[in-house]
């Protein structure tokens, strides 16, 4: 139903409660699983399945409403604002991990190595005698054993180029749809998704290399922790972004979008660019320096 002003106000929202129950089961299951309790894994996957089901249902409903022209431009801009600030919240989530990286490298690391004011010198002299701080560090306890850091050349560099290229193809897709060219739109989208998929594939490759050849693991002290958490969460976001773009592509094939009305694509594209920018941050602060 829409109001006299034409703003669409839905009724009888049934998906949210499904989502809540799904999330609840998911988290409960995850908690049990972490504690190696019975049914943990099962509940985790049941919860995840419910969430996926909810997403299909909910987004499907929105897509249908959108197709049937229920939304006016004001609704459209609500979606835009929403997506924008959602992405901002994601940026802040990454900020926490970048903050941790920054803090470890500029404060706790040097402090443990005896550099800095206050008790730094004594910290090193009394508690960590002989520990020298140099960045790729797994701390005075040599946690996780000797490892080699991940260089920036090779896979990471290729990945950077891949993602940058995918940003370009994504923008080309945008130009295409704005001009109403559906075919090129789909092709550019496909290129973007494929580039994303290759990126993920290469990242898996990189992780395997890290674990087997470099002895670099999640447990390799603070370097391993920040490396895998940052790149891992990023990889997860790439996956989500690629899925979004893939769904958009399917919808494009089914002719859901027009030159004027293609917000679903734009939202996914914003997300994709955000993932791109985060990667540049990663490439600079995790790999390069």
């Amino acid at each position: 139903m829409s109001t006299a002003t034409g703003y669409f106000i839905p009724h009888d929202a049934r998906w949210p409660i499904v989502g809540s129950i799904g999330l609840c089961i998911f988290f409960y299951g995850f908690g049990l699983w972490l504690n190696e309790a019975a049914f943990g894994k099962e509940l985790f996957f049941i919860g995840a399945a419910i969430i996926v089901f909810m997403m299909f249902g909910w987004f499907g409903l929105v897509a249908k409403e959108s197709e049937s022209g229920t939304y006016n431009t004001q609704v459209d801009s609500s979606f835009r604002i929403c997506m924008m600030w959602f992405i901002f919240s994601e940026v802040m989530f990454f900020a926490a991990f970048f903050g941790a990286l920054f803090y470890a490298r500029s404060f706790s690391g040097p402090w443990l190595g005896g550099v800095g004011g206050g008790g730094a010198e004594m910290t090193n002299a009394v508690l960590h005698t002989g520990h020298d701080y140099v960045w790729p560090s797994n701390g005075p306890g040599d946690v996780g054993g000797n490892f080699q850091p991940m260089g920036w050349f090779g896979l990471p560099l290729i990945n950077t180029l891949l993602l940058l290229t995918s940003g370009v193809t994504c923008t080309l897709a945008h130009h295409a749809i704005r001009a109403g060219h559906r075919k090129p739109f789909i092709w550019w989208l496909l290129a973007t998704v494929v580039l994303g998929a290759i990126f993920i594939g290469l990242q898996i490759e990189e992780y395997i290399h890290a674990y087997t050849a470099l002895n670099l693991k999640l447990t390799s002290g603070i370097y391993g922790s920040t490396f895998f958490m940052l790149t891992g969460f990023h990889g997860f976001h790439v996956t989500m972004g690629a899925i979004m773009l893939f769904v958009v592509m399917i919808r494009a094939i089914r002719n859901h979008f027009s030159a004027e009305n293609h917000f679903a694509f734009e939202a996914a594209a914003w997300y994709w660019h955000f993932v791109d920018v985060v990667w540049l941050g990663l490439f600079i602060f995790v790999y390069l320096f």
Binding site: M1, T3, A4, T5, Y7, I9, P10, H11, D12, A13, R14, W15, P16, I17, S20, L23, C24, F27, Y28, F30, L34, N35, Q74, S77, S78, F79, I81, C82, W85, F86, S89, E90, M92, F93, A96, G99, A100, Y103, A104, F107, S108, G109, L112, G117, G118, G119, H128, S137, N138, G139, P140, G141, V143, L218, T219, G221, I222, Y223, G224, S225
Partner: protein
Amino acid sequence: MSSNDVTHHAPDDHAHHDHDEHGPAPGLMRWVTTTNHKDIGTLYLWFSLIMFFIGGAMALVIRAELFQPGIQIVDPMFFNSMTTLHAIVMIFGVVMPAFVGLANWMIPMMIGAPDMALPRLNNWSFWIMPFAFLIMLSTLFMDSGGPAGGWTLYPPLVLQMGDSFAFVIFAIHFMGISSVMGSINIVATIFNMRPPGMTFMKMPMFVWTWLITAYLLIATIPVFAGAVTMLLTDRYFGTSFFSAAGGGDPVMFQHIFWFFGHPEVYILILPAFGIVSSIIPTFARKELFGYDSMVYATASIAFLSFIVWAHHMFTTGMPLAGELFFMFSTMMISVPTGVKVFNWVATMWRGAMTFETPMLFAIGFVIMFTVGGLSGLMLAITPADIQYHDTYFVVAHFHYVLVPGAIYSLMAATYYWLPKWTGNMYDEKLGKMHFWISTIFVNVLFFPMHFVGLAGMPRRIPDYSLQFADWNMIATIGAFGFGFSQLMFVYIIVKCVRGGEKATGEVWEGARGLEWTVPSPAPYHTFETAPVIEPSTVTR
């Protein structure tokens, strides 16, 4: 109601397009599937009232144990989980949801919008909360007990927790999702749902404060989520964020936590500022003094709140330069906050005041919040804070800003808007009694904490030295008095919901703003036709 010459349409004026079939759905499912901002607001408000009694009951366990020296009722471990859960419930389960509930009810009505921007998302934001607290509170019944490391969750202590640790973390993630979605919705509503003519500077202060609060939430809750995620991986996946052996640092958690935690305390107070800025002008029958500077002050507080976090960490061994910076920046917050206080006083000045219950609570808020703010200023002075830190002086400080601060603003808001919500006047006599009894007891409860704190009683202890006995006993008496007098609050609300003298649309003689232009109770759908807002229309 001369000031409110807004053109609007009550719903029955409408042409009856497909409306009526979308009145509230019958039965329980109405509440589960509702997308109506008023319904969702109601759900939030009831939820938070229930949680208030749960969190309060936990506080009473704390106070009962502290009634006398020695350990009488609970094991120290359980005591610590009471402290922790009390804080988590009160902050995330009471004050925040209550403010979101008020935002839901009032923001669309205040700006003349038909509903929130994204009604389905709005429903979800609420329907996450009960599940989140289900998980959180269920940890109390697990073998390893509830979280007992304080609401600040400092590692390595919190990592010693047993199996329920994972559930605590996930419950926090869960609540975070709700807060972020709720805030995004509020931002979208305020930006996108204003009818033509409703400029930013015509919005009521409550809308402004919530807009800024929503930004604080969107910017900090994800950081908190990141911090607890690192705790989770340190505990279960062998990362070393907070362990020196691996090159991390326990203090790093504190920095990340307080980067969230300090803005969080302003999240708990900015909407309160908005409420009080609505109520005082009404009962002083005089326009809010210095509206523009109120807006700028709110924005300045929000901005400053991002650069003061380490004032919670003056004893962690920060470098001198850091301590100086955080001391100065923290002190600066007093300036915009002072502007607010002075503006309220100036609004009262030469008004024609009456003292109905909402006004009493609002004035109580201003006075007692200022008491808490001034002790906050004392805490900001680093060398003195080294003595105050982690004592009951801090506990006194934050309860003054939170209980007669945030909680009072919620009560003021409830009394103020209850007639609008229910169509009935609440019982004024009981309301006044509720105010006076609460105010006496809340001071008996929290004022003595300043003394025992200064004299050296640390916080988070289940037992204390004999010299603190008298004041603790008094505080406990205050706690039970304050706690049980809140049953009056529930009684008054229920009584008002069930009936009473009928309220007019305007309700209060000096009321200003669009919400008073619709009938009481506010119809299920308001402003489906956008109100016409002229430059001369009074909207705040």
